[in-house]
Amino acid sequence: MRVAGPLVAELRKTLTLPAAWAGIAVVVLGSIAITVLNAVTTRSAIDAGTPERVANTSAFEAAFAAMPLGTVGAVVLGVVMISSEYAANSTDAGGGRQITATLTAMPRRVSLLAAKATVLVVLVIAVAAITLPITAGIATAVIGGAGTETVTPAQALMRGLGGALYWTLTGLIATAVTLLTRSGLIAPIVLIANSSVVSVSLLLTNLTPLAHWLPDLAGRRLFTGVDTVDGGLAAGPGALVMAGWTVLLLAVAAVVFRRRDA
């Protein structure tokens, strides 16, 4: 019962933030849009008799192409949960920041961070549970049996779960970074850019194999079944390494949060 109170409070706080809904909308609607575009393009290529125009004709792959958007949404959620605490009100409204109310209501800061982390996990998984089946369904409906399915349903499920895990861990890293830096700018820049084609980590792998142990690269196999990176960690060990980074960053953030003035 003592756990439920703070958890529900943090959940309500987050769900009443317009920015959180904006992030969720981006993931859900954006993923649907990209999947539709992808599926229609694939279908028309098949129908025109030129299936080699597209990378592959698998319906599941068409749906998975939108997965990077989920990272953006998770980062938005992670950032917004912290930055909303530190945003200052107008002097008309007393000029205060929410962090004061939050910490007087819940002075155990590590528990507070744990509650926020739990809420993030719940929300990201919920969004994944909604988005991935819908996109897979749309892609299957549009492409249907016309394409050659290279992904078995079991594989699709594993990749969906892996993707959701990647989103969740990235969102948690965003929370930790935003709490440490108290700036809403750094996490988006580092995490969104790095999980994309402009990945500094990926570039570093050409110089040293140690780069494969960076959190976003370690988790890369969670995203893609196809080997896009040579010499990286397999999905399982990679997930563990990424989770390890996440726990480490959250722990550092928790320690700093506890000792710092509000």
Partner: protein, 239 residues
Amino acid sequence: MGTRVLAAELDKLRTLPVIGFTMVGTVLTGVVIAAALAASAAAQGTPSTVVELVLAAVPFVQVGIILLGVLPAGHEYDGRQIATTLVAVPDRARALAGKTMATVAVVGAGAALSIGAAHASAAIAAGVTEVTLTADRAPWRLAGAIAYLAVIGLLAHAVAVAVRHLVPALVAMLGLMVIISPVAAGLTEHARWLPDRAASQLYADTDALLTGASGALVAVAWLAAIGTLAAFRFIRLDP
């Protein structure tokens, strides 16, 4: 009279610490990435040119440029300074023009410094790591890269004015440039009409349909569209 507004806007940027940090960070990104690309080419034994190395660093540098472009307008909405600005300069068209020119200055300086530093870094790193250097074909592409970055920075500014929030504008621009754009490019050839894809023809020669000039025109059209919407919001609506 208009120079006062521009001078005040430049004062604002000069005294905002994050602008300086971002400028330094963007230039350093250019230096480090160019060197890393050179080392990478050496490690894999692929021949390259110094200019090619610099151009390959542009997508990384654009992340910092996006932040530089979002900040001048975005920081006004990160707090309530926008009301102070509009009370000081109630002629909103003039206020927006001044702010836009200041953004161009900051983004242009960031782009030029980053490309210049990246060039030096690539040249040095290529020598140190003994990259197989082939002759540079088109050094004018460096100017195209600077122009591309300026366009991206301006686009970020337009988005920030339209969106009226700092972090959402940053996330939107980043999402569009580094996620949506490449994904769309992988899906359809029509992605060439996206502003960053079209503008990239200023320094890359990868598209069958668009040249540097026509690509720039497409990007300017996007800028005009988003900019008009943003200007309307800024000038006509309550802050």
